[in-house]
């Protein structure tokens, strides 16, 4: 239960989201970091721990003028930032540092200062996946979907409801990229990308960033912001190759990270007021709901189609609009964390009244990695 003693005191996204032509990738990290420091009244000299992905902690510390005593460069895809929160909480609790800055920035759309990420032809992916024609996540991430649909009898219409419901949340969010309502027919008639998925079932590609600042719960009381406590955390990895995941209907990494976080927090599913599940593609909320134990196996499609996760439903999910409608720079996990923090502070555009516990669940790569964080606005 040691991580109960750590809180998020600073949180911010980049000033702009979407298409950002006047900042490179490291500039997006810095913009978000400066916004997060301003949020809680700190300067770079007050930070003694740095965690980041996409850039290295060396680049971020140097660029911002920070001399850290602790760094974490865990880079396992979009859930790296959940894992940074977990590692930072442990480091603060162990006394390795006092105040940790976690940064994300990604010029996903404009591609300014974003190094290319080729797949080496002598890697396992390069030998045993790339020769068969994948081109990035839209061609790889949906590969397990047909197996899931067959096993549980999930329909294309039920899957389409994931996108429809998240657009309803996005409509409440002034910063969301897409806000116009869509129907199941709109989803099923949108341009085919990689059957069974169409463009409205794939995430956006945008520019942006975000940053978090963590310190001990005891110190958190002295900050101007409402502390958001880290109650429990979990992490795991499975495989760099989606073709090699053990079960195409369940993520092993999700099934380790989620329950680890719940157990550490000492909560059960009925305690959860608000949920974020990283939705790079429309099947991820289904896998997340089942692997984290919110619904029995095979029932997530119906659960979403019956509007349980929609505005007014009993389990508000992806209330910023998600990667499908809010924004997605490439490593979306930071934006899911930002929405959990906003909900716990009580300042989200689509605020869940009285929410006390938020679960934030991330994926990295194509079911390659996972991190889960349980937050609360009530001191543990």
């Amino acid at each position: 239960m040691r991580q109960k003693a750590v809180a998020i005191v600073g949180a911010a996204e980049t000033t702009e989201l979407g298409v950002i032509k006047d900042l490179s990738q490291i500039g997006l990290h810095a913009d978000a970091a400066l916004n997060a420091m301003k949020d809680c009244g700190l300067k770079p000299s007050d930070i003694d721990g740095v965690a980041t992905a996409g850039e290295t902690p060396i680049q971020i510390a140097h660029y911002l003028g920070i001399t850290p005593k602790w760094v974490d460069g865990t880079a396992v895809g979009g859930c790296s930032f959940m894992i940074h929160v977990r590692h930072a909480a442990a480091a603060i609790e162990a006394g390795l540092c006092k105040t940790v800055l976690i940064t994300h920035g990604e010029s996903g759309k404009s591609q300014i200062g974003r190094p290319p990420r080729p797949v080496p032809p002598d890697s396992l992916n390069g030998q045993f996946e790339q020769p068969f024609g994948p081109m990035g996540p839209p061609s790889l991430f949906p590969i397990p979907v047909l197996r899931y649909m067959k096993k549980y009898g999930v329909t294309h219409e039920q899957l389409a409801m994931v996108s429809v419901v998240q657009r309803e949340w996005a409509a409440k969010n002034p910063r969301a990229t897409f806000k116009d309502p869509i129907t199941v027919d709109d989803v099923l008639n949108s341009r085919m990308i990689a059957y069974p998925f169409r463009i409205l079932q794939c995430c956006l590609v945008t520019d942006g960033g975000g940053a978090l600042i963590l310190t001990s719960a005891e110190r958190a009381k002295d900050f101007p912001t409402k502390p958001v406590y880290v109650l429990g955390t979990g992490e795991s990895v499975e495989t760099p190759m989606v073709s090699q995941m053990a079960d195409f209907t369940s993520s092993r990494a999700f099934s380790v990270a989620g329950p680890t976080a719940f157990q550490e927090a000492g909560i059960s599913h009925k305690d959860v007021d608000h949920l974020m599940i990283y939705d790079a593609f429309a099947h991820l909320p289904l896998y997340g709901l089942e692997d984290l134990g919110f619904v029995p196996r095979g029932e997530a499609g119906r659960f979403i189609a019956e509007r349980n996760t929609a505005p007014g439903g009993k389990l508000p999910l992806n209330t910023n609009g998600g990667g499908l409608s809010y924004m997605h720079s490439g490593m979306y996990g930071m934006y899911a964390l930002q929405e959990s923090v906003r909900q716990m502070r009580g300042i989200a555009p689509a605020q869940i009244p009285g929410a006390k516990i938020s679960v934030c669940h991330g994926v990295g790569g194509m079911f390659a990695a996972s991190g889960t964080i349980v937050f609360s606005n009530v001191a543990p």
């Binding site: 797949v119 080496p120 032809p121 002598d122 396992l124 390069g126 030998q127 045993f128 996946e129 790339q130 020769p131 068969f132 024609g133 994948p134 081109m135 839209p138 061609s139 790889l140 949906p142 590969i143 397990p144 979907v145 047909l146 197996r147 067959k150 341009r191 085919m192 990308i193 990689a194 059957y195 069974p196 998925f197 190759m241 073709s243 090699q244 195409f248």
Partner: protein, 136 residues
């Protein structure tokens, strides 16, 4: 033969036997001599128990279609739409591949359909293990 432009695998010491096998018309898998687990992709130890006592064997080439997408975007070496598939080999392991001699449609590509390996040369050195509907 294949359209030119595909990403070309570059064998390593640990995977050379696999690529030598496809060139020779054999689908070579590995088996743990201690725990009997069949596994893929290649490595010189068992991913199930860690034993270094492993053997290479010739697989049957029989498989079932486990899952796939039909990709609609242009990729060098491919004319869309084309399926990127994962097959489950009769011996247990799964591998990514393409399905040939079959329309690239949801109607023709039925999960769990029987497949057989179709060794397809990419160039003089590399032959890819593609799969086609089993002739029964």
């Amino acid at each position: 033969m294949l359209e030119p432009g595909r990403a070309r695998p570059k064998p390593t010491p640990e995977t050379e036997h696999f690529w030598d096998g496809t060139k020779a018309g054999e689908l070579r898998l590995q088996r743990c001599d201690d725990c009997t687990k069949n596994y893929f992709p290649p490595r010189p130890f068992c991913p199930s128990c860690g034993s270094r006592h492993v053997s290479i064997f010739k697989a049957s080439g029989k498989a079932k279609l486990h899952s796939y997408v039909i990709h609609h975007r242009k990729v060098p070496g491919f004319t869309p739409p084309y399926a990127i598939a994962v097959v489950e080999l009769a011996e247990g392991p799964r591998m990514m591949t393409n399905i040939v001699d079959c329309p690239q449609t949801p109607e023709a590509l039925v999960l769990d359909m029987d497949l057989e390996v179709a060794f397809t040369p990419m160039d003089d050195a590399i032959t890819l293990p593609l799969f086609r509907p089993a002739k029964g």
